[in-house]
């Protein structure tokens, strides 16, 4: 994929020394990094196929510094790319050559734990898992659990509206965040929400959650915490046909059961994860399905029995119920290492992230197999079956010329098929740069223009994380393909970043 990014502003680059000098006025000078060695670690996020060094990196320490830095950049027309822990999978934190990269790593303190109001106020650089760690002594936890939770930051979770394996029952970040402190590109410091259950007026908190760092910079977060369920148990089910696992998922939901988590893995992934983690998965099946149920002890037992019956009806050939927490965690141990496991059997892989209607799983997997043969690239699939979020892992070798391009084309074809099946381009990894040029598969000109207009309401000069999420200088044309129609651009006066 040739990635077109916003045009580099040579005047800004020419002015680099002065800009770095000016930035030192707003924070401790050691928080400004502009030497090659210092900025190199920031050249990419977890979508590591794309690299670009920023002009400078700034690591502010408090909200007023963030505000002053943004205000300065806004006045000087300098682009800013915000960054949390850099674990994003869609290139949302990829720097631009003429940008100031704003790292929130120093915002790493939990500010208040309020058990009475069942919430935590934290700085955005704190990791997702650290929130749960901070409250688990009283049997509370923070519900969204993206697989990178050990490293990803809560600020990044807000930018991406991160999910995890439990989002069918407990929602994604947007359903679990109560408030933020938020700085606009012009330096205005705002508060949306807080400890109260909801706010009035436009739902600005809902709008900025999942906005991929395009609307402002989060400097403080209030999240709700939940009491741990009394009992959690899981079933590990094996099926000879992947269709049977898909039908089992549909039947569980139609049966009125909302499990805490439901995950399907296909045969290639079962082998890879079992070799890697020794989870003890059955090897003679085409698909495994992990179903986790929580609630009171007796409730879980009743639900386990119901799921067991549904599984048998759907011809499960392997069925195991966790006897204790260790065994339950062992069921998950393979699933949780799906990405590194694939990394161990292939030099490189691309992780895709479409969402589809659950019932379309067999059909979409069939298409993925067809495409795998067409492109001559292996693929392994895991599926958050509860919420329809599919993660095909496309294996390739970047040392072989053209394989990255082939893998990206394969990935794009999968996502297009997801949309065609009634689904969407991205369930939890974000659009970033990775899926930016596929946006026209889902949206038409008017839809995209409306979202760009919202962007303009927050960031008039389009300086905050430009080049992400929305296609540049393009209109969506018939058939979902994109062209530049220079002569026929009905929005020619509006900057497209």
């Amino acid at each position: 994929m040739t990635l077109v990014m916003p045009k580099v502003d040579q005047l800004i680059l020419d002015d680099k020394e002065k800009i770095v000098r000016d930035l030192k006025k707003f924070t401790n000078p050691i928080n400004i990094i502009s030497d090659l060695e210092g900025i190199t670690p920031y050249e990419t996020d977890a979508l590591s196929a794309y690299k670009q060094k920023p002009m400078a990196v700034v690591l502010p320490e408090n909200t007023s510094e963030v505000s002053n830095i943004l205000k300065y950049c806004n006045e000087k027309n300098i682009k800013v790319v915000p960054r949390g822990a850099g674990t994003g999978l869609s290139g949302g934190a990829l720097p631009l050559a003429d940008c100031v990269l704003l790292g929130l790593g120093k915002f790493n303190k939990i500010l208040e734990i309020d058990f009475e109001n069942r919430c935590v106020v934290t700085q955005p650089g704190v990791t997702n898992l650290a929130l749960t760690k901070a409250v688990e002594h009283k049997d509370f936890y923070y519900a969204p659990d993206p697989s990178s939770q050990i490293a990803c930051s809560i600020g990044g979770n807000i930018a991406e509206n991160s999910g995890g394996v439990h989002s069918l029952k407990y929602g994604t970040t947007t359903n679990n965040v109560l408030g933020v402190e938020f700085v606009l590109m012009d330096g205005t410091i705002m508060r949306f929400g807080g400890k109260k259950i909801e706010s009035e007026g436009y739902d600005l908190l809902g709008l900025i959650t999942g906005s991929e760092g395009l609307l402002g910079v989060v400097t403080e977060v209030t999240v709700k915490i939940l009491k741990k369920p009394q009992s959690i148990k899981a079933l590990l089910l094996g099926f000879q046909k992947i269709e049977e696992s898909g039908q089992c998922v549909s039947d569980i939901i139609s049966g009125g059961i909302i499990p805490a988590g439901m995950e399907v893995m296909d045969k290639p992934l079962i082998k890879a994860t079992d070799d890697y983690s020794k989870a003890g998965y059955p090897r003679d099946v085409d698909a495994i399905l992990i179903v986790e149920l929580d609630g009171t002890e007796s409730e879980v037992n009743v639900l386990i029995k119901k799921v067991e019956e549904i599984a048998k009806k759907n011809k499960a050939t392997y069925l195991r119920i966790s006897k204790n927490d260790d065994e339950r965690l062992r069921f998950w141990s393979g699933r949780k290492v799906a990405f590194p496991a694939v990394g161990s059997i292939s030099p490189d892989y691309l992780c895709m992230d479409g969402t589809i209607p659950r019932k379309k799983l067999p059909e979409v997997l069939k298409e993925i197999t067809r495409l795998s043969n067409k492109y001559g690239l292996r693929v392994a699939n895991c599926f958050h079956a509860g919420d329809g979020n599919l993660h095909p892992l496309i294996m390739f070798d970047s040392n072989i010329r053209s394989e990255l391009k082939k893998a990206e084309q394969f990935g794009a074809d999968i996502l297009k098929y997801c949309v065609k099946s009634g689904g969407v381009l991205t369930g939890e990894h974000g659009v970033g740069i990775e899926k930016r040029d596929l946006m026209c598969e889902m949206f038409n000109d008017e839809d995209i223009q409306q979202q760009l207009n919202i962007k303009e309401a927050f960031d008039k000069n389009s300086l905050l994380n430009p080049g992400k999420v929305y296609p540049l200088l393009h209109r969506c044309a018939e058939g979902g393909k994109m062209h530049v129609h220079k002569d026929n651009n009905k929005f020619k006066d509006i900057p497209r970043f």
Binding site: E116, S298, I356, D387, I454
Partner: protein
């Protein structure tokens, strides 16, 4: 008299708004016209969406329903009920409040007001259950966002912005809502004759356990005259805790709560499934303010501040009910007591909360602010957002705030 236009297709809505945009004509948007809510506005044209109704698709196993915007909420709930499903945010039937009889209005109206029922603190608000929408912005353009799946981060989550925007950003044409299986059993633990402070402590204590209550409300003695349940003691205050789920689990959890609040066992009783459901329907539908002539307001506060808030008005003989485990207080006050109205608003603000006027006669709707927002930055940003959808500010102008 405003000229009423009732289009029968989305394209007609688009053409109508495009024309109004060109002519700079403000439009009031109504669905089934059941909720006279928001600031009173006067527009030369009215866009009535009642003909855009009907269920477009409903896939129980995919947990969503897609409807045209003015589809009756009652119809949607009846359809879901056939498959043992429901809208988990428990939309209120405000017909009782406004006209003294059931009238749920349209789905689009419910979305525009983002009003949620007693389960709010556990299952989220309406805004947490809208998966996508299509509508017409103030330039007449048909725009959409979201989809039919739960997990979706493709572009901004504009659906959330639309929920609770009172028709000031788009005229809704299609809506996708998430649906959930119905709970098999509902039971309610009642404790009579305790004061608000103790009730709030009970809410807090229950919320610190893994019992997962899904309703928690408090009726002071003087608000109780509407209840007609057979075995309900309405001579004293009522504190109610709801537990829902599979029957076996509900029974177990009710017993856990009984033990936890053992000190109140003399005044404790349990509403079984049928009566429990009626109790919470009455509560969510605000039947205690049935056809009241008072001004009805909604106060949202961090739950720990609610006791202090009510205490400040001890001498005012307030008619109030506390719901959402202490986060929400409904209050009815006399129509002409604007001093009290303003005092309540001020007190809510001082305790990090806000006040919304839900029902008021027209002269109050003209005179008083509908919402509370005092933050100028929020107002400036809200105006810019409004203009990003509706640059000439023709859609429900002034419905939320003056000038927006």
């Amino acid at each position: 008299m405003s000229e009423i236009y009732s289009p029968s297709s989305e394209n007609d809505v688009s053409n109508f708004i495009r024309e109004s945009h060109e002519q700079d004509t403000p439009i009031e948007i109504i669905g089934q016209n059941t909720r006279p809510i928001g600031r009173l506005i006067q527009c030369s044209k009215t866009l009535q969406l009642k003909n855009l109704n009907g269920i477009i698709e409903y896939f129980p196993e995919e947990l969503y329903i897609k409807v045209k915007a003015a589809t009756s909420l009652g119809l949607v709930e009846a359809e879901l009920d056939k498959r043992d499903q429901e809208l988990a945010f428990e939309p209120a039937d405000l017909g009782f409040l406004y006209n003294g009889k059931s009238n749920k209005g349209s789905v689009g109206g419910a979305v525009s007001c983002n009003l949620s029922g007693s389960r709010r603190f556990k299952s989220g608000a309406l805004r947490d259950h809208i998966l996508g929408f299509q509508g017409v912005n103030g330039k007449g353009e048909i725009v959409k966002s979201g989809g039919t799946v739960v997990k979706n981060v493709t572009g901004y989550d504009v659906s959330k912005l639309i929920a609770g925007s009172y028709g000031t950003l788009v005229a809704l044409t299609e809506i996708v809502l998430k649906v959930q299986p119905k709970n098999e059993e509902s039971q309610t633990l009642l404790i009579n004759n305790i004061n608000l402070k103790k009730a709030l402590n009970i809410f807090s204590k229950a919320m610190q356990t893994s019992v997962e209550i899904s309703g928690a409300c408090f009726y002071p003695e003087k608000s109780l005259n509407f209840f007609k349940l057979n075995d309900l003691d309405i001579s004293t205050s009522i504190t109610a805790l709801r537990i829902e789920g599979p029957k076996i689990s509900v029974v177990e959890r009710v017993n856990t709560l009984k033990k936890l609040f053992d000190e109140y066992k003399k005044t404790m009783s349990v509403l079984e499934n049928y009566q429990s459901r009626i109790f919470w329907k009455n509560t969510t539908d605000l039947e205690f303010f049935n056809n009241t002539e008072s001004v009805v307001i909604k106060i949202i506060l961090p739950s720990v501040n609610t006791g202090q808030f009510i205490n400040q008005f001890e001498n005012e003989e307030l008619r109030y009910v506390v719901d959402w485990a202490g986060n929400l207080t409904w209050i009815a006050i006399p129509q002409n007591d604007s001093v009290l109205l303003r005092q309540l608003r001020k007190a809510a603000l001082a305790l990090n909360g806000h006040m919304t006027i839900i029902k008021a006669p027209n002269h109050v709707r003209i005179r008083e602010d509908f919402l509370t927002t005092v933050d100028d930055n929020i107002k400036v940003l809200s105006l810019k957002i409004k203009e990003s959808f509706d640059p000439k500010k023709i859609l429900n102008p002034g419905k939320m705030y003056s000038g927006i």
